[in-house]
Amino acid sequence: MTEQSINANSEVQSKTVAKPDGQLKGQGKPIIPESVACFLDSPPVLVGEDPAEYKRLFEEVALAIGPRNFIEWLWVKDVCDFSWDMRRLQRLKGALVGCGRKPALEKILHRVIDSKRKDHDEQVHRLTTNWFTDPKVKEEVQKILQLMNLPEECINAQAFSDSCDKISKFDSLLGNAASRRNNALKEIERNRASLLTPSDEKALVVEAAASDTSEVPPKKSKSSPAALLLDLH
């Protein structure tokens, strides 16, 4: 080790805060213990999702919570996993109605175009397939709908109606993920509260009494899991 690297190490250490179990909290990136780092080897990402993005989220959550032992690191992973699930579900729920527009349009056109026409099925297929890309076909569909006194919004309405079941299942999955993420945060708070000794509690009371004399109300600690909950929302 050179003198330069020793000095660099000291500089890093003087900027960091030592945690009770020896984990150093650096500026910008948490130091993840080896026993936890293995979780990042197989992140719960779908094909096409970015594992580096998941790792960034994990580091953000770890920095905000500041886990003090292995159990808290498992809760950090839970918060990260459920947050990741929620982001995915919210994104996809938004696209769900969009996904259903083509079958919705097909359904409507089957009903409004004269079924006695010999080329009925061909017409429906041609209009449905090209409605997304061809402005002339879009105009043609609009005229057909107007003849039946139907606004173009009916396509979205049909797509929404067809997707109602799925949307409510998405909502249920979202609700479950949110609830479990909140539980994980509450467990961290509960764990920390239960580990306070009577002398710790006394010190907190004294601190609270001292801070009452200031004019500015004390801010909620950024590392409070509950505060994190608000931030992540």
Partner: protein, 163 residues
């Protein structure tokens, strides 16, 4: 926190109100474990034995306390059950994504509307009916792990106050 009385009451209630009742239902549910394996506890699967021990030792830390080790083992089993459910969910959706990709390449679906978000959506929509039952396994494992962690933490608090 649930009291011992509440826990006992919950256990009594589950005996009378859950699970299949007809012969068909019982036969169907008896095959659940063979379909995805999630109904079989990791504790009974030899493939998980080493992982359970390793994880339990990490959770327990440096200790020879039998009670702590036993609770850590329960927590480790529950943690691995959770990982297993999550991994299965991801593989289910990934398989569906691969199927959609194959269909698009074979021209058996309309490739012009197949951007990534659409593919993900379709994969989720196709698998959503299978994701529902997984919620139950996840909920059970999560609850079991939470209880084990709480019991461990109560033990630590007791030791701290006696020290």
């Amino acid at each position: 926190m649930s009291s011992a009385r509440k826990i006992a009451s919950n256990r009594r209630n589950t005996v009378s109100s859950t699970g299949p009742r007809t012969a068909t239902g019982k036969l169907r549910s008896s095959r659940n474990a063979l379909r995805h394996g999630l109904a079989i506890s990791v504790a009974l699967d030899p493939a998980y034995a080493q992982d359970i021990e390793r994880l339990a030792n990490t959770i327990a830390g440096e200790t020879s306390d039998k009670a702590r080790l036993a609770l850590s083992r329960v927590a480790a089993e529950a943690e691995l059950e959770l990982s297993r459910v999550r991994a299965y969910r991801i593989s289910l959706i990934n398989s569906e994504l691969a199927a959609i990709d194959r269909e698009a390449k074979n021209g058996s679906s309309d490739a012009d509307t197949k951007d990534q978000a659409t593919s993900y959506n379709e994969a989720l929509v196709r698998t959503i009916d299978h994701l529902d039952p997984l919620e139950r396994y996840e909920r059970r494992a999560f609850s079991r792990r939470k209880r084990a962690f709480r019991d461990l933490q109560d033990l630590l608090v007791q030791d701290k106050h006696h020290a």
